[in-house]
Amino acid sequence: MEALVTQIQGLSGTASDVLSLQNLLKQADDSLHAESTRLPPFLDQLDPSKHSLGYLYFLEACTAGPVTQEQASSFLLTIARFISSCVAEQIRLAPDKFICVCKRFKDQVLLLEEPLRGVAPMLTAIRKLQLSSEHLTALHPEFLLLCLLSKCYKTALSILEEDIFEVDQPRDLFLFCYYGGMISIGQKQFRKALELLHNVVTAPMSTVNAIAVEAFKKYILVSLIHHGQFPTNLPKYASSGAQRNLKNLCQPYVELASSYSNGKIADLETYVEANKDKFESDNNLGLVKQAVSSMYKRNIQRLTQTYLTLSLQDIANRVQLNSPKEAEMHVLQMIKDGEIYATINQKDGMVRFLEDPEQYKTCEMIERIDSSIQRLMTVSKKLNVMDELMSCDPLYLAKAGRERQRFDFDDFDNVPQRYNI
């Protein structure tokens, strides 16, 4: 054991040394696990910022076994310090171990019921493990889970803003998008939530999994809140399993959506009352209530299309509210949120609907359009790169070659008809 420690201390200097160290550590892994109880004192001999890889192996072996309550908080401190001071390159040589340690960290934090303690370290961990900002690690969903449980949504937003393109495990993506959707809903950023949930629901999956089902339920509700309608069919690129089965598994929500589209608030409310338990058991009751209130908003918005001025009493009648006072409250809230443009004349009890004052003539607007164009060009380029990569992929060529016509006189490609890998 001591020999190992000295080796770690010695070989943690240069990159080639670290590689040979890694081989040594891999061989010694089993013995480390065997003597896990004896390891904690050795940890003090190692410096996490210099001997990160070794420290990691030791740490992983230490935490492998069951941990008692007293040990738990001391371990938490050790792990947190390690995460903040470790060296990213060394960590990336043994990503599984790192992920393992962090997951155990999360479990401990949850056990102690202090998720807030885990948020910052987990964020640092992600940043160190990620190969690039487009990379999704297994730690992303854990981080989001901690944020959700500790209700600090804002920290999560920085992670959610990044575009994800590379994924290690599909399950990570599903969880990430699902939790991300929930956080966005909490922050009332319904467009982002819709995007994330849409990714879960339409992701390629051979069988429908539970995450997708739950995500679909929320997807319906957020779709109603944000767009006021729910497309009855999933887009064609969703997996066939999803297209067939998701709707059957979320029956009450689909019926809620169709009741919403009929436009009668009274019917919608009775339906919600009748199925309250189901919604509650899915923890979606709050979202359902938001959907119902969004219906009032949509009806008021529709009025702006037909009327220039309307009395508060009329608004209350048409939108099926109880009194002009309520109508005034709703309209006021919508003006504040920027959902409609209007002025309320309290003397006459009239509301005057105005046009959108945006003239699209300001510098800010030009900048906005310009940045949008730049972003789209980057994304487009990425798409082209991927397309090219795909066309050179041997698997693709094999399949394309097989499906070509046997005798094609006009086409003297170099791609052979049968392509053996």
Partner: protein, 465 residues
């Protein structure tokens, strides 16, 4: 349709005789010259006098079952049973007698003797026809087989077995040699289909008849146009129906009275045209005919052909006035005419379930046409013009605006309608930004999915290896 009822009323008063045996044909010619002011309750005898054959009976039964007036109902049923007794349809007779329920006295109770006599005769005739047909079939004489099937068809039709009649008529097709035969077959098939209310068959047989290589004589073309028009009407394709009805030539006369009469052609055509044509088409096809001056040679063909429709419209002056008013924006009187015509139109066997839709369409067109030339419209004046309340008008306008048929906004406080034209520039900017966002979102999602699939493929590939 209303025209001749009123005319006949006046005539009845003049002659002081009434009853079914009044010669209907002579009265139609005199009716054309009577000016009419407003609609009155349907005079059943005059109405039924226009038609012959089975449609007369069907129409009478329909009126009986749909009108509110018990006197009218009984009158209709009485005439129906009289007419049926002249024919051989025992099934229909039984139905009508049941409906009468003995209210018309002993003459109109179930005459079982007559029924059994008719049925016996029917059996005998059927056997005779069958044996004849078999003999023809063994002899393989095409013409005789055709006539045999035709006779069968007529026989079934007279006895009310419409499905069998249709089948028999269709069977003659294989034995038709000249186009005349084909046309005859088509016409018979159309007749039966109309009665069975299977208008898809009607359309197909009309097109079949029109495809015959020989030129058709005018009455036949007219009949086919009417049938096609009815088919379109039933399918709620009002524009096509209007066009077909407008093509019907005057040669129709009374030759198709077992299906439709000129008054019907005028009414159906006029109402459908009003509901579905836009202003230019309306003017070109109908209104040019309402001007008193005769057209010159050089005028476009469509107009000349439609001199005929002017004569049709003369038969139903109310419809003519109605169209005129609509075109010249006298909406109040137009809608008043429509209201007057409505009770009688509901009793029409082909039109009754289209009346509401057509009326709504006409009213909506009137509203839209009213607001079109103005930048702002005082809703109180508009409500007066349409004989409705401001609140009701507001509701109708709201529906039309939501439907995007009127581009305007309502100032509910001052009750003014302001025309509103969308700002193209702003709308374009908005759409551009939105499209950009959607593209971005979709491409990113697509790249993500591609990555997932690639991961899946790599897994599979690594498993294979």
């Amino acid at each position: 349709m209303d025209g001749e009822e009123d005319a006949s009323n006046l005539m009845m008063e003049a002659n002081s005789t009434g009853g079914v045996d009044e010669a209907p044909l002579s009265s139609t010619t005199t009716r054309r010259n009577r000016p009419i002011i407003s609609g009155e309750p349907l005079d059943i005898e005059a109405y039924a006098g226009l038609y012959t054959g089975r449609t007369k009976i069907n129409r009478l039964i329909f009126i009986a079952s749909h009108c509110d007036n018990p006197a009218m109902e009984l009158e209709a049923l009485r005439m129906a049973s009289d007419e049926i007794k002249k024919g051989e349809n025992t099934q229909l007779y039984r139905e009508v007698v049941q409906k009468i329920e003995g209210r018309l006295g002993p003459n109109y109770e179930m005459d079982t003797a007559w029924c059994s006599m008719i049925e016996l005769k029917a059996e005998q005739r059927k056997e005779k026809l069958e044996s004849e047909l078999n003999s023809y079939r063994t002899n393989l004489i095409k013409e005789s087989i055709r006539m045999g099937y035709n006779d069968f068809g007529d026989f079934y039709y007279a006895h009310g077995a419409l499905g069998d009649a249709f089948k028999s008529y269709v069977r003659t097709r294989d034995y038709c040699t000249t186009s005349k035969h084909i046309i005859q077959m088509c016409l018979s098939a159309i007749l039966v289909s109309i009665e069975m209310v299977q208008f898809s068959n009607v359309s197909s047989y009309v097109s079949k008849a029109e495809q015959t290589p020989e030129a058709l004589d005018p009455p036949t073309t007219a009949k086919l146009c009417c049938a096609a028009g009815l088919a379109h009407l039933e399918a709620k394709k009002y524009k096509l129906a209007a066009r077909k009805f407008l093509e019907v030539g005057l040669e129709l006369g009374n030759s198709y009275s077992e299906v439709i009469v000129p008054q019907d052609v005028a009414t159906y055509g006029g109402l459908c045209a009003l509901a579905s044509f836009d202003r230019t088409e309306l003017k070109a096809t109908i209104l040019s005919l309402l001007s008193p001056a005769p057209p010159l040679f050089s005028i476009h063909n469509k107009v000349i052909d439609n001199i005929n429709f002017r004569d049709f419209l003369e038969l139903v002056p109310e419809v003519r006035e109605l169209i005129n008013d609509f075109y010249s924006s006298h909406y109040a009187s137009c809608l008043e005419y429509l209201g007057n015509l409505k009770p009688n139109l509901i009793l029409d066997i082909h039109l009754y379930d289209h009346v509401e839709t057509l009326y709504d369409q006409i009213r909506n067109k009137a509203l839209i046409q009213y607001t079109l030339p103005f930048v702002s419209v005082d809703m109180r004046m508009m409500a007066d013009a349409f004989k409705t309340s401001v609140a009701g008008l507001e509701k109708e306008l709201e529906a039309l605006i939501t439907d995007n048929q009127i581009q305007a906004r309502i100032d509910s406080h001052n009750k003014i309608l302001y025309a509103r034209h969308a700002d193209q520039r702003n709308a374009t900017f908005q759409r551009v930004l939105q499209t950009g966002n959607e593209f971005d979102r979709d491409v990113r999602a697509m790249l993500l999915r591609a990555n997932l699939l690639k991961h899946d493929c790599n897994l599979k590939a690594s498993r294979k290896v």
